[in-house]
Amino acid sequence: MYAQLVETGAKRVKSLEEMSPEEREFQLKIDAETKIEAKNWMPEGYRKTLVRQISQHAHSEVVGMLPEGNWITRAPTLKRKLQLMAKIQDEAGHGLYLYSAMETLGADRDEEIDKLHEGKVKYSSIFNYPTLSWADMGTVGWLVDGAAIVNQVVLQRTSYGPYSRAMIRICKEESFHQRQGYQILLDLMREGTEEQKQMVQDSINRFWWPSLMMFGPSDDQSPNSQQSMAWKIKRKSNDELRQMFIDQTVPQLEFLGCTAPDPDLKWNEERGHYDFGEIDWQEFYDVLKGNGPCNKERVETRKNAIDGGAWVREAAKAYAEKQQQKQQNAA
């Protein structure tokens, strides 16, 4: 999931009887699957939760460009380089769709970006891990984008119209990301040397658990889920989504001829799902708090990009004003 631990500000979900008439009307609309649009009345908590979730999601897309940007100049062939650049450009686009959706809620893009730079808001924990080998470009596409797809496919039905529409656009583009990643790994496993195959396994070993953490804490540790689900901002619980991801990913893993770094991972005939081992939640919370391997570097890179581009934005504005002045003088 690209948004983890999104605060709703609600201690518990109100019953219909406890709600004000406006809140009740709103909740009934949600229950009837009517999409909420920007100009509709909404509870302040709903608006705030959405801004938090969408901005976290947007920041994740933008920061998510960095681990891959690391490999543009080192891609093994021109074809791979073009594919990687196309994927990264998509991530930038996804960030922009989401910032636009967030702005319809009255949030300010610059303010939200400042909060990211000040460490006041989060982005997905997964992007705080380094990309050490070319195989990581395959694993990131396959596992990280794969986990994102599981989450985002469900979010297409989220209750807020602009967010839902952004998700639909994003999902259309996302499956290219996952396939290109898987193909990188397939090529290495089928045609690669022994060392290249080991490189793939090593990459999977490093990204397996962090990918599972993307779905956020387990349901009993996720105090905000209930309200988010009642508002239908969230449509499925963290554990449900994680299980879906594992179930669809393990056969792909086996097809590659690789293994997961989890001795407890095995098919459970009775449940009809894969069982898996306990996630290291301490690591998850550490990374989310800012103590992952790359947290500092990621935020610094983003901040430098914005600060370094300030003169370009100012120049573009000055140019636009000058052109407008010229036109007015000519008229």
Partner: protein
């Protein structure tokens, strides 16, 4: 970015279809809005034509006025073809 005005983007996906709202971009001027919209909304041949319109230029109906605006047409069933029943013998009309 806040210095740059917001533009709403409309894309015609195919010849013969109407332009449809797809989202928004920030840009210093209309020309840049067009370029940004191209890069953001038509990376995979999603369009053959783009409109960009300053968001501030759009007048939208308010949800509060929904009843005043749209209710009057709800009770005019005679405006629909299905209101008029024809004998089977007449065939398709």
């Amino acid at each position: 970015m806040a210095d740059w005005p917001l533009y709403e983007v409309f894309v015609r996906s195919k010849h013969g279809l109407n332009h449809k709202h797809v989202g928004s971009v920030h840009a210093a001027d209309a020309e840049m809005a067009m370029e940004n919209a191209r890069d953001l909304y038509t990376r995979r041949s999603e369009g053959v034509s783009i409109w960009v319109v300053p968001s501030s230029a759009i007048t939208a109906s308010s949800p509060d006025e929904k009843e005043i605006l749209f209710d009057p047409s709800d009770d005019k069933v005679y405006r629909h073809a299905s209101f008029y029943k024809l004998p089977d013998e007449v065939g398709h009309m």
